[in-house]
């Protein structure tokens, strides 16, 4: 029997890519990686699921507080950030497509655009946070803003800061991951034969975007 790796090299050969010893061929390795990423995304959804659950419970209990507190969020900045993230998802998707088409320069360009949009998101978030902290619109015991007429705005800000904070952390990690594949793309490691890491990071990035798509209306618009 021909050794598995030679067979794979003939079938999917790429100078920069070697099939790991325990896979029979490149396709299996690619499929395995993709399944792994999807399973990881499932865990992410459950991770945020707990927070969404907490949001709905406390919104039900302290509806008036939530309505009052959410008026202090900056809808324009939130909307701007939504535009940034959705656009970044588009550039990411285009980046994956370019990688699949072996277009190295395009891939690098789209990935760079994604990173810049992600950074813009964080800059806006920074101004929002500074503003909230300055006004004392803070979680639980740290809440000290004046002029609130309802009982528990602190619970709203607890959920706001924890959810957007953890989401922001995901954006930071995402920037790191995109820079990593950007450098690899620059070196010409990806081609139509091998683009799994670009696709994997892309899927992660879309999830980060998707979570924001829920956070923005729930926190900023309906409250």
């Amino acid at each position: 029997m021909m050794s598995a790796s030679t067979e794979a090299a003939q079938e999917k050969g790429s100078p920069d890519f070697v099939v790991a010893h325990h896979f029979d061929k490149a396709d299996t390795q690619f499929d395995a990686g993709r399944l792994g990423i999807w399973l990881f995304l499932v865990t992410e959804i459950l991770f945020f699921g707990g927070l969404f659950c907490a949001f709905f419970i406390y919104r039900g209990w302290y509806f008036d507080s939530f309505v009052e507190a959410h008026h202090h969020l900056d809808k324009k900045m939130g909307a701007l950030n939504t535009v940034f993230l959705i656009t970044s998802s588009l550039t990411m998707a285009l980046g994956v497509r370019s990688a699949q088409r072996s277009a190295r320069k395009e891939t690098v360009g789209f990935l760079l655009a994604t990173v810049l949009l992600a950074c813009a998101f964080l800059v806006v978030k920074y101004f929002e946070y500074t503003h909230k902290i300055h006004d004392g619109l803070l979680p639980g015991a740290m809440f000290h803003a004046q002029g609130f007429t309802t009982q528990h705005p602190g619970v709203f800000y607890a959920i706001y800061f924890v959810m957007t904070g953890i989401h922001g952390l995901h954006v930071v990690i995402g920037i790191g991951l995109i820079l990593w594949i950007l450098i690899r793309a620059q070196k010409g490691e990806f081609s139509s034969r091998y683009y799994a890491p670009v696709e994997g990071v892309g899927l992660y990035w879309h999830l980060v975007d998707l979570i924001w798509i829920y956070l923005f209306p729930l926190l900023y618009l309906v409250g």
Binding site: M1, A4, A20, H21, H22, F23, D24, T28, D31, A32, L35, G36, L39, F40, V42, T43, E44, L46, F47, F48, G49, G50, L51, C53, A54, I57, Y58, W61, Y62, S65, P139, G140, A141, M142, Q151, H152, G154, V155, A158, I159, F161, V162, I166
Partner: protein, 542 residues
């Protein structure tokens, strides 16, 4: 068994090179991506934790020998039972079977060279070690006295102990567990050798698969819960603090949404081991293969819908309690399916009374008691009386120790020759099994009576009327401890003095027995092609 001979012959041809002696030195172990070495390191680590947490248990039982204060102050007692529980759950039972035995046998059983993501597998182990250091650090700092459940608001506002270190440790351990589960699911889906169809998977792997599903679906919820707990304690964000509008019952919902399914993370792999043990040592095709396989999946799914039965007295609504109680009874159905099928497998089989079979018998007996005593606890009316008594303590020790741990030790004996290439002394192994069985029942069956008579758990002293039963339980713990140390002795003796193990000492039909003991680094000298099921004993003429 012509194939077994071939495997032994291949071993000779390969010059005795195997995964243990292929590379040498501590660095080669710490940087290995070989699932067998990682599995072995998991086993050594988890068994060390088992010993530490077990010594805590012996100290607790010694304190309870007489009423009043003997060796521990009430505060120290609280810390000892907390660390006993937290370390047993997070550092031993949850990772031991999947991380240790699962890692070792899973790729071999499907004819693969490794798990799908070997580096991720090593990362899981490092995360486990990191989490273990955080958790164990509390022993030398201020301890932990919240109980292994870290209930708020005590853990966030009252306790003066290292809550953050331990919960952060558990948070990290959660990621280790998630990554292991993810790795195993992908491996089973993508790396089966030619001919290994889903229905030719050993039942151990169906159980591991079901466990992995629970690991990746439930553990993230624990992660966010513990993160919120840490934020609550550090910054008083108010999500769980009633003074700030938060809800401590929400913490319990989150916690048990993970921790009830986690019970199945602990017991399901044990059930998988037992399926293999009984079939192999009875030399008979397993009775009801599909029933056992799908009952594992059923337990995993039903397990997600019963968490509220931990909270009958916590202030959830009566309607919720009723629904949770009702669904809880359904867990008994797939569990019963398994027990009857295991019994059916032995019927007409050619049972070889090897040590693993003794553990399988112990499991059947103890797990059945553990399962049946769960039913009265699922009844709301009875639970109101039995809640937080020794009845609950006895019940979960019967399931966790009598079930999961006994299965784990049985599995260790079963795969020991494969892992180390050495046989162990059957006589001392059987005596140890007997001591464990007797000691376990003395310790914990007594506690059913204690609980039914009203002895509450987590107290360092008690009324005089409970003294004889407590003393008896403590004597039992000594027998149990002696049995476990004898297991340790048997294994250490085997490593140095044990006979060389053949490739297939038990006459098994699944793939791990068709390769030398210990296996070569790449598991098989040639990728196997499978043409029969894992339990097709009919052709062996046994």
């Amino acid at each position: 068994m012509s194939r077994a001979v071939t495997a032994d012959e291949m071993d000779v041809e390969a010059g005795g090179k195997n995964y243990l002696n292929a590379e040498k030195g501590i660095v080669s172990w710490l940087t290995t991506v070989d699932h067998k070495r990682i599995g072995l390191m998991y086993l050594v680590s988890t068994l060390t934790m088992f010993m530490i947490a077990g010594i805590f248990a012996l100290i607790l039982r010694f304190e309870l020998l007489r009423s009043g204060q003997d060796v521990l102050t009430p505060g120290q007692y609280n810390q000892a039972f907390t660390l006993h529980g937290a370390m047993m759950v997070f550092l031993f039972i949850i990772p031991a079977i999947p991380g240790g035995l699962g890692n070792f046998v899973l790729p071999i059983m499907i004819g693969a060279k490794d798990v799908a993501f070997p580096k991720l597998n090593l990362l899981s182990l490092y995360l486990y070690w990191t989490g273990a250091i955080f958790t164990a650090s509390s022993i030398v700092s201020t301890g932990l006295d919240t109980g292994w459940t870290f209930y708020v608001p005590y853990s966030t506002t009252v306790s003066q102990t290292s809550v953050i270190a331990v919960t952060f440790g558990a948070f990290i351990l959660g990621f280790s567990s998630i990554l292991t589960g993810l790795n195993f699911i992908v491996t089973i889906h993508k790396l089966r050798a030619p001919g290994v169809t889903w229905y030719r998977l050993p039942l151990m792997l169906w159980a591991i698969y079901a466990t992995s599903i629970v690991q990746i679906l439930a553990t993230p919820v624990l992660a966010i819960t513990l993160l919120l707990l840490i934020l609550e304690r550090a910054f008083h964000v108010g999500i769980f603090d009633p003074k700030l509008g938060g809800d401590p019952v929400l913490y319990q919902h989150f916690f048990w949404f993970y921790s009830h399914p986690a019970v199945y993370i602990m017991i399901l792999p044990g059930m998988g081991i037992i399926s293999d043990l009984i079939a192999v040592h009875s030399h008979r095709r397993i009775f009801g293969y599909k029933a056992i396989a799908f009952s594992s999946v059923a337990i995993a799914l039903v397990g997600f819908m019963v968490w509220g039965h931990h909270m009958f007295t916590s202030g959830q609504s009566e309607l919720s309690s009723t629904i949770f109680s009702f669904i809880t009874f359904f867990v008994a159905v797939p569990s019963g399916v398994k027990v009857f099928n295991w019994t059916g497998t032995m019927w007409g089989g050619s049972v070889a009374w090897n040590t693993p079979m003794f553990y399988a018998m112990s499991f059947l007996f103890l797990f059945t008691i553990g399962g049946l005593t769960g039913l009265p606890l699922a009844m709301i009316g009875l639970d109101l009386h039995l809640h937080d008594t020794y009845f609950v303590v006895a019940h979960f020790h019967y399931v966790m120790m009598g079930g999961a741990v006994i299965a784990f030790i049985g599995g260790l004996h079963h795969w020991w020759p494969k892992m180390t290439g050495r046989m162990y002394n059957e006589t001392t192994a059987k005596i140890a099994c007997g001591l464990i069985f007797v000691g376990f029942n003395m310790t914990f069956f007594t506690q059913f009576f204690l609980g039914a008579r009203g002895m509450p758990r987590r107290y360092h002293t008690y009324l005089d009327q409970y003294q004889p039963l407590h003393a008896f339980s403590t004597y039992g713990s000594w027998v149990l401890g002696a049995g476990l140390f004898l297991v340790l002795f048997t294994f250490i003796h085997s490593l140095f003095k044990g006979e060389r193990a053949p490739a297939n000492p038990w006459g098994g039909r699944s793939l791990e027995w068709q390769t030398p003991s210990p296996p070569p680094t790449e598991n098989f000298h040639k990728t196997p092609v499978v043409t029969h099921g894992p339990y097709d004993f009919a052709t062996t003429g046994k």
